[in-house]
């Protein structure tokens, strides 16, 4: 069974189309792994089980084309699914069932995939470790005492553990790339506006972007081909010609100019991580790219600007959870003010409260100019300096995080230190640029390390080609954690 589980999504779909394996068998195999591993990894909040098998059976009868036809996947629990609870890993929405599907859910459906369930995450996508979930922390499949990263930790861990062939996450400040790096899988955050946010429960609207976590770059290309489009329901969506990324994937990077911003290789960077990232740079150079160091001074403002703007937007986006309309409502017959206070106090976890408070503060009268307006100005500076860099380079290469996955519980005590780990990833969110994380080896302790590639707007094809070039030459993305699949404990 591990043979099926070890396939990429493209290989599995090819096998299904050839009749070598049925869609039901694949779904059942994955459900077996989920059942075996759920207690250890806690990757899922909701497993669709019977519903998924029925869908798989229907697909087996139908037969279809398309590179993802028949492939089981799962989505982060902040993507609305009609009739299927969507919790954002918060007590606030523990029993919330949306009446509509997110745009990307319908697109995955059209692509002929099977939804196995909803993945665990940091509460409302706020966090870098997937420990703030009201359903308990997700564990890293490579080391159960470590975090998988966040906020799409369930998504990265599920792909790494062989529970699904692909997953959708969301990336607001690195929430797809960072857990992908820490779990040793491939993750991509496309250009802001190229995947519909309709039905993605908002954290920070200017940065939120749905992304894919997969086994390799080719699978990422196929998933992006399925979900990128211009959805008229999302006004921040960008018109463009979507699709064709998989067809355009040739791994040809000869003459590609790649810059390594010195500011993203600072003193805080763990030397082991630095070495692995430079290994990846070397592979690219060997394959014909020109790789050189470059300068990105504005990067110093990125983290502060990101947290000010993200928290400001979050404080407004999460105000609707007030106990009046839906979701958690405090017990007892209390007055309106009390209802607000108690419902929100009981419904939100401490990290969410911290960000709401920060955001409320920076937007309040007398502070707006000192914080929010300054952060917007800093964002413009970061955008400009990236624009300048992309007049010289086709891609930028950097680490994803300063270190490998930390132990569970370490980060929660030091929120500011946890925020620091987002330094390398937030730039792509401030600028809206596409970026991905691909495995580039392991630390001495056997924990995966990721390398980040950042492209110009609409530069997904370039990104994927560079990633594909690395993955053709290396086996890093093929490394599997000890608990991969059912580990012999089941079939």
């Amino acid at each position: 069974m591990n043979e099926i589980l070890n396939m990429t999504a493209l290989e599995l779909s090819a096998g299904i189309k050839k009749g070598e394996v049925s869609c039901q068998e694949a779904a059942q195999a994955a459900l077996n792994v989920i059942r075996t591993r759920q207690d250890q990894l806690n990757t899922f909040i909701t497993v669709t089980g019977r519903q998924a098998l029925e869908r798989a059976a229907a697909l087996d009868r139908r037969k279809g084309s398309g590179p993802l036809f028949g492939v089981p996947g799962a989505v982060k629990d902040n993507l609305c699914t009609q009739g299927l609870r969507t919790t954002c890993a918060s007590l606030m929405l523990e029993r919330y069932v949306p009446p509509y599907n997110a745009g990307v859910i319908d697109l995955l459906d059209e692509a002929g995939t099977v939804l196995l369930g909803k993945l665990n995450m940091d509460e409302f996508a706020m966090g870098s470790t997937s420990e703030t979930s009201c359903f308990g922390p997700v564990k890293n499949p490579w080391d159960l005492s470590r975090v998988p990263g966040g906020s799409s930790g369930g998504a990265a861990a599920a792909v790494a553990a062989g529970e699904v062939w692909f997953a959708l996450g969301s990336d607001t400040g690195g929430s797809v790339r960072q857990p992908a790096a820490w779990c040793g899988v491939t993750g991509i955050k496309p250009t802001y506006g190229t995947v519909s946010r309709y039905g993605l429960v908002a954290y920070a609207s200017s940065f939120d972007q749905v992304g894919a976590i997969c086994r390799d770059a080719a699978d990422c290309a196929a998933v992006l081909d399925a979900i990128q489009n211009h959805d008229p329901r999302d006004s921040t969506g960008l018109p463009g010609e979507y699709g064709g990324l998989l067809a355009g994937l040739n791994g040809d990077i000869r003459g590609m100019r790649i810059g390594m911003p010195a500011q993203l290789f600072g003193d805080e960077l763990d030397p082991q991580v630095r070495h692995r990232v430079l290994d990846a740079a070397r592979v690219l150079r060997d394959r014909g790219a020109q790789v050189e160091e470059c300068c990105l001074p504005a990067a110093d403002y990125a983290l502060a600007a990101y947290y000010v703007i993200a928290c400001a937007e979050a404080s407004s986006n999460l105000a609707r959870y007030d106990g009046v309309h839906y979701g958690k409502r405090c017990a007892g017959d209390v007055g309106l003010e009390e209802l607000y206070l108690r419902s929100r106090s009981e419904g939100f976890g401490s990290e969410v409260k911290r960000r709401i408070l920060l955001g409320t503060f920076v937007l309040s009268e007398g502070h707006y100019d000192a914080y929010y307006a300054k952060a917007l100005a800093a964002r413009d500076m970061v955008r400009k300096s990236f624009e300048e860099l992309f007049s010289q380079y086709d891609l930028l290469l950097a680490p994803v995080t300063p270190s490998v996955a930390p132990k569970l519980g370490q980060s929660l005590e030091h929120p500011a230190r946890m925020y620091q780990t987002d330094s390398y990833t937030v730039c792509a969110n401030l600028t809206g640029l596409p970026a991905m994380s691909i495995p580039c080896g392991q630390s001495e302790g056997g924990m995966p390390v990721g390398v980040q590639l950042i492209g110009p707007a609409f530069g997904e094809q370039t990104l994927l080609n560079a990633a594909h070039a690395v993955q053709r030459e290396t086996h890093w993305h093929k490394l599997r954690p000890p608990c991969f699949g059912t580990g012999g404990e089941g079939t």
């Binding site: 954002c88 039905g199 105000a319 309106l336």
Partner: protein, 476 residues
């Protein structure tokens, strides 16, 4: 000491687009609760707003009519506050870049014309409605109104009396109705205003401390609230007190203002740019199109009626009171009716019929060509005026005047021989009256005319009858 009242107005206007400002739900008034809402206007998690371009168009048309400068690049902002009728806990509005600024509206008053300056106008979404249980039990929420498009028009503090405010509101309402962008119905809440009011010693140039009054649902309430609040402030100042800056609610039943909150606990709305909506560009081509499509407004029509057609100011005001009435008038004139005659007919007979039927001009089925034809028949002397009124009443709900006249034999007798014959007969039958007249009793003439008219069933021209009788009397 003599006091001067200084007032500024904030008026919310509900636009009558078919669908809401950020989703495609219907805006129709009066539907059962929560039957016109969707994930977007209910603010469900994950939903996103999409701007209804028609709202921008309507707002821009109002801005043009109010002589405002229009912001070429519009942005929306979020106004954050908690209230159960606001499901997102923020209202999408405009703070930093409102669609229009710096305009004016000329208001005609008995004392003359006054120009009220417009400070700014912005677009925003309406909130839902709370329905409190009459027994004081639970409160329910109706989301139907959530997301109905509004513009808020803010004036400078240019008013000095309730009369001016009411005149402005009536003028504004007329502009909105002429533009066709709002129902302008106060009782359905499609026009709501807040009054900012302060008083100061007459001659003073500095503004006093102001209060804001909300919940003014009728012109009468506006007038009462202004009178009440300015008296209240004057009383405080005259007794040596200080007016405090606060928000008041006008209680129409109690006929008094009730404090809601003071400035100290005023809400901090934490406005910031709405990240879910990109900026909206209003390019010159779009505005040029709107300018050319802009209908003629009541004030312009009034000026034209007086200047080109010699109507009195009073008549011009009556005719332009409703856009459809003015249009009816203009079409009647275009069909050849003399303007003054058409005006008299409309202000007399048409309004009489409408009020008898309790109808608005826009609901009238009468066609301008029918009235024009009727006026022409009178002008040509084919029917007399009294007959015309009878025909008018008969065809008001439909029918052809000439057919009616023919069917009822109402055409005027223009044949002198026929009249002369009738006169002969009347003279023969009433020798006594003839003798009376000759004896100097002038009144007898009237009797003879009446008898002749009766014989001719009223279809003769009374003047002709009069002349023939006089001729006949003096013949002998």
């Amino acid at each position: 000491m003599r006091w001067e009242t200084v007032i500024g107005l904030e008026t919310h206007v509900e636009l009558n687009t078919d669908t809401k400002i950020f989703c495609s739900c219907s805006t129709a008034f009066g539907a059962p609760p929560n039957t016109q809402c969707c994930p977007v206007c209910m603010g469900l998690p994950g939903s996103l707003p999409v701007l209804n371009r028609r709202v921008v168009e309507y707002a821009a048309r109002i801005a043009l009519a109010l002589n405002c400068s229009i912001t070429p690049l519009n942005r929306f902002d979020r106004k954050n506050y908690f209230y159960p009728d606001l499901p997102k806990a923020y209202q999408i509005s405009q703070l930093y870049l409102p669609i229009a600024r710096e305009g004016w509206l000329d208001v005609e008053m008995e004392q003359g014309r006054k120009s009220i300056r417009i400070h700014e106008m912005h677009m925003e979404e309406d909130a839902g409605k709370l329905i409190h249980h009459p027994d004081g039990g639970d409160t329910r929420i109706d989301y139907n109104r959530c997301g109905v498009p509004l513009v808020e028009i803010v004036t400078e503090p240019d008013f000095r009396s309730a009369d001016e405010v009411v005149a402005y509101l009536e003028q504004l309402r007329s502009v909105l109705l002429y533009l066709g962008v709002s129902d302008g119905k106060l009782q359905e809440g499609s026009l709501r205003c807040d009054v900012n009011l302060s008083v100061r010693p007459e001659g003073s140039q500095t503004l006093g401390v102001r209060t804001e009054m909300k919940n003014l649902g009728s012109f009468r309430a506006v007038r009462r609230a202004i009178e009440y609040e300015s008296q209240r402030q004057i009383r405080i100042l005259e007794s040596g007190g200080r007016v405090i800056r606060q928000t008041l609610r006008w209680d129409e039943d109690a006929d008094q203002s009730i404090p809601m909150r003071t400035k100290e606990d005023a809400a901090d709305y934490r406005y910031f740019p709405e990240p879910d909506l990109p900026p909206v560009e209003l390019d010159e081509a779009f505005l040029t199109d709107l300018r050319t499509q802009q209908p003629e407004l009541a004030a312009q029509k009034r000026a034209r009626y007086c200047k080109d057609w010699g109507l009195s100011a009073y008549d011009a005001r009556m005719l332009t009171g409703q856009r459809s009435l003015a249009e009816f008038f203009e079409r009647t004139v275009a069909l050849g009716a003399p303007p003054k005659k058409a005006a008299n007919w409309i202000m007399g007979q048409v309004l009489r019929q409408l009020s008898a039927r309790n109808l608005q001009a826009q609901d009238m089925t009468l066609q301008p060509k029918v009235l024009a034809r009727l006026i022409a028949l009178v002008e040509q002397g084919r029917i007399n005026r009294n007959t015309a009124v009878e025909v008018f009443d008969a065809v008001f709900d439909g029918g052809d005047p000439e057919e009616y006249i023919a069917a009822h034999g109402l055409e005027r007798i223009s044949d002198c021989a026929q009249v002369r014959q009738a006169v002969e007969q009347v003279f023969a039958e009433n020798p006594r009256s003839v003798a009376d007249w000759r004896a100097g009793k002038e009144k007898a003439l009237g009797f003879l005319v009446g008898q002749t008219m009766r014989m001719l069933q009223g279809k003769a021209d009374p003047q002709t009858v009069n002349k023939l009788i006089r001729d006949r009397l003096t013949e002998e």
